[in-house]
Symmetry: C2
């Protein structure tokens, strides 16, 4: 089964909104063995939607379309689809009841535009939306299934999970595509490619490799297309086993696990607690760690010491040390880590201090210079990094490097 994903919305074409829906949908479809051949974004104008449908109907087995189903006047997808399929609009009683209940439960009064969301083209099958007021719609014509979903991400996801995924899964009978992703941290893409040259050359022909860099991280994606899924899994197990012999210290997990999840698993297994003291990373490490559900089991908290006064006052860093050497040095991050462990009473700590830019750099300590210290019981390890790029990128790279450093300290791999 081959699919195209169609996103409707001027807000995407003028770059105001990033299309995260298409990404998520393609993840789900790939997991079902449905191949996404194309993603396209078009304007929310009836003419453009119609000509896009003309181009794709009959060429793909499945079209998933998102956007333009909201309650406001700029939302025109439903009317356009009714016209495209030469269909009347009818009020759907079950949807109407759902919408009424939705508003009652939230203690809000109904408004006219919400009521109109219960009107649908007569030819479609309605997909009930348990997460919002716009129903999904399922059309079939010329051997192509067309599914229209709202653009609000959590409503779209709810409809995919409740209706689309189960039904597509039961209809789809194609060769299995198996992806495996190996998550690495600490080596830039081109260096990694050199380290892995022999391993890459020895890959069987049915295996495709892609290097996918992100700030501070490179993902290695292996793909096997095979009629026998169990074979593919075995082939990948052997290949990944060899990779583990080459770069054991740089691999932190598989299949898009995040570094914060990987570190969280390790802290939970070991039954140790963590606190952080952040300067230049400004709370990003705390945010990453607490983005993981259940992180309160091992994370006690953080002191964001943005001003030097706080580094001394709350974390107990020697003020004369900051005066003499500045806030970006080994001794300061070491004292920050000790200070936050004392204040919060934890087994481990992460501390960061650096220059995220765009201003504040000097010849001696240019923008991107970051000191990181990690501690675990009696062990302490501090390291100076030099990252490149924008403020956001530097913060991101430093945060990843800090989590990986603690992970390696816990695994005695430093």
């Amino acid at each position: 089964m081959r699919c195209a994903i169609i996103t409707i919305g001027d807000e995407i074409l003028i770059g105001q909104v990033t299309d995260t829906n298409a990404v998520w949908i393609s993840q789900q479809l790939n997991a079902l063995g449905v191949q996404v051949g194309e993603m396209v974004t078009v304007s929310d104008e009836a003419g453009q939607i119609t000509s896009t449908l003309d181009r794709y109907m009959g060429r793909y087995d499945l079209l998933i379309m998102t956007g333009g189903l909201g309650p406001t006047r700029d939302d025109i997808t439903k009317q356009t689809l009714a016209a495209y399929f030469h269909s009347n609009m009818v009020t759907h009683p079950e949807v109407l009841e759902k919408i009424t209940t939705f508003f009652k439960e939230r203690g809000r009064s109904m408004i006219e535009s919400n009521l109109k969301q219960a009107d649908v083209p007569e030819v479609c099958r309605v997909l009930m939306n348990n997460h919002g007021t716009a129903p999904g719609m399922w059309f079939e014509k010329e051997g192509t299934i067309l599914i229209s979903l709202p653009g609000v991400p959590y409503e779209m996801k709810g409809l995919m999970e409740d209706h689309v995924i189960p039904e597509i899964n039961s209809r789809n009978k194609v060769p299995h595509v198996v992806h495996r992703t190996i998550m690495t941290q600490g080596v830039p893409e081109s260096y990694l490619a050199v380290m892995l040259r022999d391993w890459e050359s020895a890959l069987p022909e049915c295996v495709k490799l892609a290097y996918l860099p992100r700030p501070g991280i490179v993902r290695l994606r292996l793909t096997v297309v095979d009629k026998c899924a169990s074979d593919a899994e075995q082939i990948l197990d052997v290949i990944i086993g060899k990779l583990l012999d080459i770069i054991p210290e740089h691999i932190f997990g598989y299949d898009d696990i995040t570094l914060e999840e990987s570190l969280g698993d390790l802290l939970r297994e070991r039954g140790v607690t963590l606190a952080s003291a952040e300067s230049c990373t400004g709370g990003n490490i705390a945010r990453m760690i607490t983005s993981v559900p259940g992180s309160s089991a091992y994370y006690t908290g953080s002191v964001i010491a943005y001003e030097n006064r706080i580094k001394s006052g709350v974390l107990g860093v020697d003020p004369s040390l900051i005066e003499e050497k500045g806030a970006v040095c080994r001794e300061v991050v070491e004292q920050m880590a000790c200070g936050v462990r004392d204040a919060l009473g934890t087994d481990t700590a992460i501390a960061t201090s650096g220059i995220a830019g765009p201003d504040g750099g000097t010849d001696e300590k240019p923008v991107g210079t970051i000191w990181i210290c990690v501690q675990y019981r009696e062990k302490s390890f501090a390291k100076k990094y030099r990252f490149g790029g924008s403020r956001e990128r530097i913060i991101d790279q430093a945060s990843h490097a800090a989590l990986q450093l603690l992970r390696r300290l816990l695994l005695s791999n430093l």
Copy 2:
């Protein structure tokens, strides 16, 4: 001038990577009055790239293509373009020198795959890359300009800013498109549409309105297409003036300014300092505030009190209060705000405590219940919110609500 943006990469089609490049490129082009008619993502296979070029060459004035120019073997765009334009590959001496210097400056040794990046199709004009090793390429055929750029975002952006934007700007002579975006916080999309019904009905025909919701925020985008740009600006000034009379307390800025930038501007103007005490938001407020360059002028730091012990130990919240009423209540956020102001010595404070989920909810305090307190000198204001959606969405909405609450307190608008 009309443009299509072509993104190359299996990693996007399988949903492993979000295409942020297309978003950024379309923003830049729109600002120049270039209309982006379509965005499409295709696989990194020579056949798919070639058939996509066949479809778009001659139909658009400008094609911007990103991806597939890296140093690893899965990068095939350059060879495919050489074949498409029937061109030999030649080594470009200036690029070769640039790459050599790039590696020398970073103290890294050159590797063979990096050297190959200096090879380009003979027919293209090379765009020098000052931010990485893959050069950009400029082709022209059948009245269409085709520009190939690397997929690494900061390299792509550098090439756009150094070469593409200036040159397209000097060539482009089309009617001006003017966008204005009004940033609002605190009212859901459908409610906002009711509040603005009369204002929306009175919009002149040449003005298009779109509602663009994000967690906790709705952006209102007004678009005017007009040959005379100064006219369009005047029309929009009048329309926005009327909007300000209707929802003054919900507007925090214009043209995609973030709430953290808007709050930062206000704090800087007033010369007041800020500290935060976060529980359920877990550092996200600190991260948002410190994402703004220069935020150290007004932001001193934060205590992330994830464990209740820290709320008492570091922030001085009465432990018997937490025992009696739990950590999610008015009194606790008030004491957290007072505590962090005392500890960090600031004029203003934000404190949050709530249940971000997915676990930890009760009948009385379901997931999404968040208490927020803001303080400014002698003024203190606390409010209970109930947000919906995933953990990430709840944290995001709570963080936005907190920043807006402080902004309104500073403006005496509560």
